[in-house]
Assembly symmetry: C2
Homo-oligomer: 135 residues x 2
């Protein structure tokens, strides 16, 4: 099976070398073989695993989630668990969107009260001194 050095899998996946080593340290990437001199030597499967991690990160999964996904992928996964994990993540994403949209609305409202010229009093500053939502 073909061998890859860390620089090569870094280029292929667009994951920084330091990040790959970090993934190894925290246990999402497996410990690879080493050359005689001590350089990391990866195989095709490990390269694929790294793209899996990359893609999952792009989709906003946490490294904890990714560890779970990988162990499901390894161990003759049940589709149900994978879907559940994905759905939980999707719910989180939707909540974040809703939060940010509330934020956007408020910021927009506050900002629109402001002329933007060099007036000495600023409604934005005033608004920030007001209390936020109760709770």
């Amino acid at each position: 099976m073909r061998a890859y050095r860390i620089g090569e899998i870094s280029r292929r996946t667009r994951v920084k070398i330091e990040t790959i080593r970090y993934y190894e340290r925290v246990g999402v990437m497996p410990v690879p073989d080493r050359s005689e001199g001590g350089s990391r030597i990866y195989n095709l499967e490990q390269l694929k695993r790294l793209s899996f991690i990359k893609r999952s990160r792009e989709l906003g999964f946490s490294l904890d989630d990714i560890r779970r996904l990988l162990s499901l992928a390894d161990g003759g996964h049940s589709c149900g668990e994978v879907k559940a994990l994905t759905q939980r993540h999707l719910t989180g994403v939707r909540e974040k969107i809703a939060d940010l949209q509330r934020l956007e609305k408020t910021l927009d409202m506050i900002s629109s009260r402001c002329s933007g010229d060099d007036a000495p009093e600023c409604p934005v500053i005033d608004a920030l001194f007001e209390a936020g939502p109760p709770g």
Copy 2:
């Protein structure tokens, strides 16, 4: 002027005591007076400043932004600069929303291909092994 101990401004602003001390350390809260024994003693202005920080954080401003906002608020601020800062932040928020919406779409699509039963093969896992967007 009325004096407040740290516990009281913490209760009033719902900012944790440790966080208030952290704000002092990183220079967004001013160094307060101390009692003879060494307890921090705040005045009304400092209490107001803390609610300003709290509100700004709720609106997603970074501590760096907040430092700038506060110095604008202190120094006979020009409304224009405040508005510019707010607009930049708003743009950032909108970008984040757009990113998350793309994410949501992709996740939803991937997830919908999955039956969710205990099938041995899982389209979600397969999808995660595929490359993401080019770039």
